[in-house]
Symmetry: C2
Subunit: 340 residues, 2 copies
């Protein structure tokens, strides 16, 4: 049997197809009585809208895109993205929108994909993640006229509306915890220097620990590519310095674990000799010994909010930024007072 169409419903209910369309979309133009009759007919036939037809007519794909330019390896090892996606989907599903997800090589490929998606009208807009310094994406999206929301920070270019977590205050919270314990020399093993959130964290650490002001010495930031290998290398160089830090803050969990191994190999105990903090709570942080003190963000809610902002934008609402509360610091076993 053929899939029922609006024309079928119209025939069954004895009205025009336009009336059916109105009734189905809950808009004025039909009396309550006929609306009920139409809905009953649609229900009896098991009608479902054909997205292609709706998209063609309404000039709206009913889908949004998410392209991610990170190596699959890095992505898979972090729970952040999956939870982000989970949150995005919860929000999208509620409004009958689908998510097109795509892994890309780099930002250029990402822009190329946006161009393609937009030209084909595959999506109505996109969620942009991992904002960078000198990020070409906002300008490219504006040039395309493609609706977008930046998830992960305010747009420095002021083009795209953003949704973000306050990294600066999160870092301040970590520093406060370490200072309470008595730490003076705090180091930071960060992600690539091109990523905005990483830059913000470094800047915040430098601000919070500037010499004199707070009783801590100026910190050292070592940048990495987020991998365990570079996390280990960075830790090795930090710990072998003359004035080695008594606490190290890592920009993700994998590097924190790798760093902890390096410390142990170097004959240092965690947290007795060196304290460790990971930025991102995950299973990984709880299976290690000692368990890791981490910063915990609600990635799911973050994703839902970003998706919600994008849908609002598509509905014609004015662009607006949303800043989240400062994430929680989960204190576990990897932080303790520094050695005397």
């Amino acid at each position: 049997m053929r899939r029922p169409t609006i024309a079928d419903i119209a025939r069954r209910a004895g009205v025009s197809s336009a009336a059916v369309s109105f009734a189905l979309n809950g808009r004025p133009g039909v009396s309550e009585h006929t609306r009920q009759r139409i809905l009953a007919a649609a229900d009896a036939l098991g009608w479902q809208p054909n997205t292609a037809a709706r998209a063609l007519s309404a000039k709206r794909a009913g889908a949004v895109g998410l392209a991610v330019a990170r190596p699959a390896r890095t992505l898979g090892v972090e729970p952040f993205f999956m939870q982000l996606i989970s949150g995005i989907q919860a929000e999208l599903s509620e409004r009958a929108n689908a998510l097109l997800f795509h892994l890309v090589e780099d930002v250029d490929a990402e822009i190329g994909l946006y161009r393609k998606w937009w030209a084909e009208r595959r999506v109505d807009g996109v969620l942009v993640v991992d904002p960078r310094t000198a990020d070409p994406r906002p300008a490219a999206l504006r040039a395309l006229g493609m609706p977008a929301v930046l998830a992960g920070g305010p747009d420095p270019a002021g083009i795209l509306p953003g949704v973000w977590i306050d990294d600066a205050r999160a870092m301040a919270r970590i520093v406060a915890h370490l200072r309470e314990l008595g730490h003076v020399r705090v180091a930071h093993v960060s992600g690539p220097s091109g990523l905005l959130h990483t830059e913000r964290r470094s800047a915040a650490l430098h601000e919070a620990t500037r010499p004199g002001a707070t009783g801590t010495t100026g910190p050292t930031t070592v940048t990495t590519d987020f991998s365990d290998t570079e996390g280990a290398r960075a830790t090795r160089s930090l710990l072998s310095a003359a004035d080695r830090p008594t606490a190290i803050v890592y920009d993700n969990d994998v590097m924190a674990v790798a760093g902890m191994s390096v410390a142990r190999q170097a004959g240092l105990a965690v947290p007795a000799d060196v304290s460790i903090v990971a930025w991102e709570d995950s299973t990984l942080c709880r299976v290690t010994h000692p368990t890791l003190t981490t910063l915990s963000r609600d990635a799911s809610r973050f994703g839902a909010t970003a998706a919600g902002r994008l849908l609002a934008l598509l509905d014609g609402e004015p662009p607006a930024d949303v800043e989240f509360d400062v994430p929680e610091l989960i204190v576990r076993e990897s932080t303790a007072p520094p050695p005397a």
Copy 2:
């Protein structure tokens, strides 16, 4: 400026829109000369097909779906899925297809989503992962008449075509390695009993190590939910038994890491007292001490093949199963001869 349409190209090239359609789709009906002229015009205008219009007309969405019923937490911690997706996308992109990705609560929700996707004609078919015992999905998909490929095993119901890796022979390979080292008592910390690939592994281990036949004693399999917590619990119970195993095979990396911690806490050295093998190579397996001996699969190629089979199915090719080669065993530091 308006997005160019076929009518625009036709006007520019001075031909009919039908001629343009023929030229663009590389089918007979236009002379080579006009075809070139048309292609040049399309190029000059930067024309791209509108997917909604094409989908409506061709009755084909140009998209396939992937719904995953695993907790986000479990997903995110394993690199397998991201690489799988990466492979799927590479194959789909090549043929101008998009991927709709969706996380669902359970198999029932998954079937509900298939029903919805199919009713809306959102996708042309789906990739089904994590086949289970008494899996309701193949029958549900057949009832819907929805094209699908099962990624992760042959369909026991014989309904869906499948793409899979030979778990039985992979397990045999692990057992061979352990036997060479001299292990006699091998235990298995598996995933949930409902998952087919987990069942296959357990069965293979039991087969390979049945008493007498191979010089090993009958193995013990403990099922878990894949989490680190249950992996730890299972390890604790295995190691505290009177006849404790000298080697343990884990169904993923997280549990192997958790198990290693438990062994250490129990005063056992890895691999001196107990050897450990993880099923899945990931960063996690290389940052631990000792590094983990793992089974390595090519998830990306696996995904690409599955996607390729689905597209072939959509093109009307007959369903066909594809079995992969046995995955490689990467021997690292966590396996050694058992204690004397």
